[in-house]
């Protein structure tokens, strides 16, 4: 009898030591290799460049001051991007509010004039009410409504890209009505 108890206990021990041991170990290996892969793909790792040393003479300084007077494409893009107005939405809605028509016309004009050489990325966002797929879709539909409105005003559809961040990109983190209203929005970003 005793030997049966001992042998079954040993069998159980072997089985369970295998079982309980295995799962966490699997995670360890996965985590290590998984994380490595992510680190390799991290763009910040590629941005490291050797520091360039320049000798600045008086003549070069003059050249540089000339250069700064003229905006680079990137600087123009950033300046124009700041002029583009955010479109805000009502709770759980993706139609353009009447009080946002003015903003939209301004944006369409800028898109056709000052920003005509750039691509436009519309970023749809939602408030914190619900972190489901539905919220991402709502953000996307908001972007899509703005896109359609811009196209109707004469902006080339092929210049417009869309993305949704759901509730994961808030500009305001307080738990107030005003704050949530600020997060239900479509932002404009310019791309070269």
């Amino acid at each position: 009898m005793k030997s049966i108890v001992i042998s079954s206990a040993i069998a159980a021990l072997l089985m369970l030591s295998g079982c309980s041991d295995k799962d966490p170990k699997v995670d360890d290996s996965a985590v290590d290799s998984g994380m490595k892969q992510e680190v390799v793909q991290d763009p910040s790792a590629q941005e490291v460049a050797p520091i360039q040393t320049e000798t600045v003479s008086s003549s070069e300084a003059a050249v540089m001051s000339d250069g700064t007077a003229q905006e680079t494409d990137g600087q123009v893009m950033m300046r124009v991007e700041k002029e583009l107005l955010t479109i805000y939405f009502d709770f759980d809605k993706f139609n353009i509010r009447s009080d946002m028509q003015g903003n939209l016309s301004t944006d369409a004009n800028i898109a056709k004039t000052k920003a005509k050489d750039f691509y436009i990325k519309l970023e749809g966002n939602c408030d914190e009410w619900g972190s489901d797929e539905y919220n991402f879709a709502l953000g996307l539909k908001r972007s899509n409504t703005v896109k359609k409105a811009l196209v109707a005003e004469g902006v080339d559809a092929s210049r417009i890209a869309m993305v949704s961040f759901g509730e994961s990109n808030p500009v305001c983190n307080d738990k107030t009505r005003e704050c949530w209203a600020k997060n239900r929005r479509v932002d404009f970003k310019l791309l070269p």
């Binding site: 206990a9 159980a12 021990l13 369970l16 030591s17 079982c19 309980s20 041991d21 799962d23 966490p24 170990k25 699997v26 995670d27 360890d28 290996s29 996965a30 985590v31 290590d32 290799s33 998984g34 994380m35 490595k36 892969q37 992510e38 680190v39 793909q41 991290d42 759980d92 009410w129 619900g130 972190s131 489901d132 797929e133 539905y134 919220n135 991402f136 879709a137 709502l138 996307l140 539909k141 972007s143 899509n144 896109k147 890209a161 869309m162 993305v163 949704s164 961040f165 994961s168 990109n169 808030p170 738990k175 009505r177 949530w180």
Partner: protein, 416 residues
């Protein structure tokens, strides 16, 4: 009076197997269980932590009245502690650390002075102690002849927001006590287990030019790209054998549901409505349940993939934006109050597709991410109430909810 009683009894038997009817079990009728700690290694903090984990797991079984007193004893003592004399079951365990620093546990279950069950457990380090505790509860449940609680041993995968557009993917036990970050850095969301064995998972990466669905094999750590789409690219559900996926994609800025065949890599568009169709889940082999705003607000619908007929599944709740399906049951999240500062804004409800009954599963707070266990025995969810987030487990057939407070971070999405 007799007629009334017999009528009530008849009704009770008629609906006895329907989980949408609340089953009120008398707490007093459950057998009592006390735990005796005979550990010889580790400090008091760890001993307490392990004891608490075991009490929680045994409570979640919902088949015992578990005593919460942490009493120490000698493992080989011939009889149970005098305080536990009238207790139906006494679970005595001994934690010991061996030369390789592995955690060993010896266990015996004593009933009426007899050892009715014993088993030994071992894990390589103390960080994963909760898996031993879950394994013990699983075994005790099995020994008691209850339906298996496989979900207790399964892992949860979830995404957690750490900053604006920054998240990490985490693998955890069902109480989220054990957490292991598997993908760090970047904006990666909506993870889903790729198979029943939980050896691989899918997730959406928003770091690429277009939203991209990726697949990671946990054993090898290798990841590969499955598919990209403009606007949205989310894997909403994986079928039982892992051969088919339900995706939400938006190639022209229009979110719709697609069926993806893992082997042939072909996609088939399932929904064509011009509004929002998202969050699809398999309902049997030929149908899906999904979230749509086709009535002007988010609600739960089903669609046959053969005939294309659409049916509204839920008729209660102002905004029902998330659901999970198991057999004939749907658990869904409903917005109950338009008062944003009320204390019961989102609650979980259970409906049966065969009856008209609705059972409300939560009463207060913001309750979200409902997800059935694979066997349908339990529902996992996140509760936010009074600035505390917890993970919840609902035992449908026992009519009990259990909450485990979360350490930190906002959960973005969760899959069991």
């Amino acid at each position: 009076m007799k007629i009334l009683i017999s009528f009530l009894i008849t009704i009770t038997f008629m609906f006895a197997s329907d989980a949408t009817i609340e089953v009120i079990k008398k707490v007093d009728s459950l057998p009592s269980l006390a735990i005796e700690d005979a550990s010889v290694s580790y400090d008091e903090t760890f001993k307490n932590r392990f004891f608490k984990s075991l009490v929680a797991d045994l409570n979640v079984l919902s088949i015992f009245n578990v005593e919460r007193y942490h009493r120490k004893v000698n493992y080989d003592a011939s009889s149970v502690l005098v305080e536990n004399k009238d207790i139906n079951y006494v679970l005595r365990y001994k934690l010991s650390e061996d030369d390789s620093r592995a955690l060993n546990l010896e266990l015996k279950l004593i009933s009426q002075e007899n050892v009715v069950f014993n088993k030994n457990y071992k894990v390589s380090n103390t960080n994963v102690y909760m898996f031993v505790s879950h394994a013990i509860a699983y075994d005790i449940n099995k020994f008691m002849g209850e339906p298996p609680v496989e979900w207790m041993k399964r892992k949860v995968i979830f995404s957690r927001m750490v900053d604006s557009q920054k998240s990490e993917l985490v693998i955890a036990d069902y109480t989220l006590a054990y957490q292991h970050i598997v993908v760090k850095g970047g904006f990666n969301i909506f993870p889903k287990w790729a198979n029943k064995e939980q050896t691989a998972f899918y997730y959406s990466s928003l770091d690429e030019k277009k939203p991209t669905l990726k697949y990671v094999d946990i054993k090898t750590g290798k990841s590969k790209v499955i598919k990209s789409s403009d606007g949205m690219m989310i894997c909403s559900d994986v079928n039982d054998d892992g051969s088919q996926l339900l995706l939400t994609m938006a190639p022209q800025g229009q979110p719709d549901i697609y069926l993806y065949d893992v082997k042939t890599k072909s996609t088939k568009k399932i929904t064509t409505y011009g509004g929002i169709d998202v969050g699809a889940q398999f309902l049997g082999k030929d149908s899906i349940v999904f979230v749509s705003d086709r009535l002007g607000y988010p609600n739960i619908f089903s669609k046959s993939m053969n005939t294309g007929s659409v049916e509204q599944m839920v008729h209660y709740g102002k905004s029902n934006a998330a659901c999970s399906v198991s057999g004939q049951y749907i658990v869904y999240k409903a917005r109950e109050s338009s008062e944003s500062f009320g204390d019961n804004t989102f609650n979980l409800h259970l409906i049966s597709m065969e009856t008209d009954f609705i059972r409300r599963l939560t009463a207060v707070g913001i309750n979200e991410f409902p997800r059935f266990s694979v066997d349908g025995d339990a529902i996992i969810f996140i509760k936010n109430y009074k600035s505390q987030s917890s993970i919840g487990i609902i035992r449908l057939n026992h009519n009990k909810n259990y909450l485990f407070p979360l350490k930190y971070g906002k959960v973005q999405s969760m899959y069991w």
